[in-house]
């Protein structure tokens, strides 16, 4: 990848794990391994600029429309530490308004290394169901 930054060895990132680092010593990013996929985001919440990638990873409490509740997307919900916005990984979208998303960065695996680019990618909006 041109203009990419080597973040870590690919083996250093376990399933469900993350690395918070700065690209070139400047741009704070979070690199996650979710469902075997390595994804990277700017460590910046679209709501109020919080270091969202440093939040807890867990599940979301959802309902089927009745009065029951259950846990969904366990291990894939990143909760921002400031205001608890919930981002579904690996997509990086909020579960209540998918148009609000973390800024996703390109990732490549090159020679056993995780390489992250600094220019955001804009994937098509995924359909998120509760």
């Amino acid at each position: 990848m041109r203009d990419g930054y080597v973040v870590c060895d690919v083996d250093a990132l376990a399933e469900g794990g993350r690395i918070i680092t700065r690209l070139g010593g400047q741009i704070s990013v979070g690199v996650f391994k979710i469902d075997g996929q390595v994804v990277a985001f700017r460590n910046y919440c679209p709501h109020a600029g919080a270091p969202a990638c440093e939040g807890t990873l867990g599940g979301a409490v959802v309902s089927d429309g009745g009065h029951e509740r259950h846990l969904a997307h366990d291990g894939r919900i990143l909760k921002c530490p400031w205001h608890a916005w919930e981002f579904l990984l690996p997509e990086g979208v909020t579960i209540t308004r998918p148009e609000y998303r973390l800024m996703r960065l390109p990732v490549a695996i090159e020679d056993g290394k995780v390489v992250v680019g600094s220019h955001p990618v804009r994937p098509p909006r995924p359909q998120v169901s509760a």
């Binding site: 979301a60 959802v62 309902s63 608890a84």
Partner: protein, 394 residues
């Protein structure tokens, strides 16, 4: 043996402890309510008019077993309004204000430029006897259909409200089913006062029936003669002014309850009409709910949208007096901030003392916005055709 009470002197006049009669206190006239404004020229839809039966009239529509039951007087006995409760012109000799259909029609259609009026009778407050309140609601609906929506409605300009007792869900649903097919009824009506907030699960069958029939739910302060909770969460304000100013907060509480209870998610067709103020308090309260919705969302997972996302689809407020700034320089800005173009309906509250005259209603608003509030929003909500202005303005 106790002594017999002293005989009452012949010709003695009893003392009226309530002081002056409401009719004598009333000072505001229909003319004064117009505040010098000319007719709007719009085919106004008045979404809040309150007719009342004449004395004894309601009993005729109650089952015989209930006809001997004494009913509350129908007027709030605490916080007496120092100005009386009704317009001076609305007092008539043979019944309470709002009981004369011909006079009401003349006031609204001939003198106020109203094209169509949605009638919302009140039902004596939240009565502790659930069965009695259900019977009163049922009788009120039959009376309205038989009179104001019957022979008094040759002009076809009156629309009606199906009154139900929400704390008796079975009776309420039965009443909705009974009248939903009647072409004169355009909504159901429930009291603002309640022992539980309306997002509570116990009320769900009522809202479900309303949504099923596409009937908006009109919520309005209801006579205050029944049992009810204190008007504030810290007890009783001392005077009528505080009571009247604070009362619309109850609508905001119900609105929040509908949202967090998941009612609006489960019933996409449900429309709520807060009929007695509160619009001016809604926007700041929604901002507050929005701010903390996300971190709290997991507590009520059935609520899948930001609070502000529900308003345009589900919620309407009736402005029966000008709520918000009176300064025309900032009126339109306020109406834009609060999304009045989508959510505000005009309702006069006739024959109440604080009637908002359509000539004066939002006279300083931009013309297109004023038309939405006075005509289009109600026409869309109730499925009414907006009559041409020249046919309706006298």
């Amino acid at each position: 043996m106790s002594a017999a009470p002293p005989a009452r002197p012949e010709g003695a006049v009893s003392v009226d402890l309530t002081g002056l009669s409401a009719a004598a206190l009333a000072t505001k006239t229909l003319h004064a309510a117009a505040q010098g404004h000319a007719a709007s020229g719009l085919p106004v839809i008045d979404a809040a008019v309150h007719p009342r039966p004449r004395p004894g009239e309601l009993h005729r529509y109650m089952p015989k077993v209930w006809q001997q039951r004494r009913l509350p007087a129908g007027e709030r006995y605490y916080y007496p309004n120092p100005l009386g409760d009704y317009l001076k012109d609305a007092h008539v000799a043979d019944g309470p204000p709002g009981s004369d259909a011909a006079l009401t029609a003349r006031h609204l259609f001939e003198e106020c430029g109203v094209a169509q009026a949605v009638l919302a009778p009140l039902t004596l407050g939240l009565l502790p006897d659930l069965d009695l309140l259900a019977v009163i609601c049922s009788a009120t609906n039959e009376w309205l259909a038989d009179t104001w929506l019957g022979p008094h409605n040759a002009h076809g300009r009156f629309k009606g409200t199906i009154r139900v007792a929400p704390n008796h869900p079975e009776a309420a649903v039965a009443e909705i089913e009974r009248w939903a097919g009647h072409p004169g009824f355009v909504q159901i009506g429930v009291p603002m006062q309640s022992m539980q907030l309306y997002g509570s699960r116990v009320f769900h069958p009522v809202w479900e029936a309303a949504a099923h029939h596409g009937l908006p739910v009109f919520i309005h302060a209801d006579a205050e003669t029944g049992v009810e909770l204190a008007p504030t969460t810290a007890g009783y304000l001392r005077h009528f002014l505080g009571f009247a100013a604070y009362q619309p907060m109850t609508f905001i509480s119900h609105l929040a309850s509908f949202m967090v209870g998941g009612v609006l998610d489960r019933l996409p067709r449900l429309r709520l009409v807060f009929g007695d103020g509160g619009f001016d308090m809604c926007a700041p309260f929604i901002w507050r709910l929005d701010k903390d919705y996300r971190p709290m969302r997991g507590d009520m997972p059935w609520m899948m949208r930001l609070p502000s996302d529900y308003i345009a689809q589900h919620v309407r407020f009736i402005a029966h007096r000008l709520e918000g700034p009176e300064d025309p320089a900032i009126l339109n800005e306020w109406l834009a901030i609060s999304d009045a173009a989508e959510t505000l309906l005009f309702g006069s509250n006739y024959p109440a003392w604080n009637m908002l005259h359509p000539h004066a209603a939002f006279a300083g608003a931009a013309p297109a916005l004023r038309r939405r509030i006075l005509v289009d929003n109600a026409a869309a909500l109730y499925g009414l055709a907006a009559a041409p202005a020249e046919e309706t303005v006298s």
